[in-house]
């Protein structure tokens, strides 16, 4: 991937495919370390699948036998000297918590660190394709915090205006880009 924001879009698509109702994308920048966390409440993976999920030869794809999403994200982190982890739970009973959290850290000062790229477009793409998803996006730096919750947006917009209507997407683009 050319940008970490594309990896984030790709990993979040896994959450959506796992039938997540809520997805949290959290970016935290402290000095030269960027932590990216994508957490969902989807169906989760079996312990065996989770253990091998970041291996290219593990996939849920039916089009072919390799899956590159998690391996590419892992490689992007590790090539900067950062780390990658995946924690996943499947519910055995209906009341059990379930879902998957993928966390990767990046040394943004490392020469092999991909740029973050256009994270706004990633968030907008997720809203456009999944207007009913509960998505929380948090970007925290030492200067402050940018936060967008589609639940809060929906609360104000009501039932009549879908989150992927052009006006709402235009508002979200300006909000995320910090425009006046």
């Amino acid at each position: 991937m050319k940008e970490l924001s594309l990896n984030i879009l790709d990993i979040a698509q896994n959450s959506i495919k796992a039938n997540a109702a809520h997805v949290t994308i959290r970016l935290t920048q402290r000095e030269n370390w960027l932590t990216i966390e994508i957490a969902d409440d989807g169906t989760g993976m079996s312990p065996d699948f989770a253990q091998h999920a970041a291996n290219p030869f593990t996939t849920t794809r039916t089009t072919r036998k390799v899956g590159m999403g998690l391996p590419l994200f892992r490689m992007a982190a590790e090539q900067t000297g950062g780390s990658f982890s995946l924690v996943s739970h499947q519910a055995l009973r209906e009341s059990d918590a379930h879902g998957t959290t993928v966390t990767a850290t990046f040394d943004t000062a490392h020469v092999d660190c991909e740029p973050l790229g256009d994270i706004t477009e990633t968030i907008l793409t997720l809203i456009q394709g999944n207007p009913d998803l509960s998505l929380t996006y948090v970007y925290q730096t030492e200067a402050g915090e940018l936060r967008l919750s589609t639940d809060e947006m929906r609360e104000i917009l009501g039932e009549d205006v879908p989150l992927n209507s052009p006006e709402v997407l235009a508002w979200a683009r300006e909000f995320l880009n910090g425009e006046e």
């Binding site: 991937m1 879009l9 793409t125 394709g129 917009l157 009501g158």
Partner: protein
Amino acid sequence: MKSLQELAEIRERSKSKVALREGHNDIRIVVGMATCGIAAGARPVLSALVEEVEKQGVSERATVSQTGCIGICRLEPIVEVFESGKEKVTYVKMTPEKAKQVVSEHIKGGKPVYEYTIGEK
């Protein structure tokens, strides 16, 4: 900084528009957004399609949606156009510029841009 309150204004404005939005939405434009599509540049293609459908005034007839892997990853980004009563048109190796042209010539004008379709490469 934009405020959430502006969404309330969008909601108010939309109320007056609901009556006008009686479109048929009989054209579906679908973009492959699996790892292969994303890596090949599907995200800017999708956003160009969303923007052009609105800008060129065809949002009453056409919707843009996302799907997983279409199965021919070396030709990504792939865009499929489904129209009721017509055969599916598959565009391959798409770019935002080509997407703009597809909206104006195919979606608006009714003539598929054959040079970007899968049979023509």
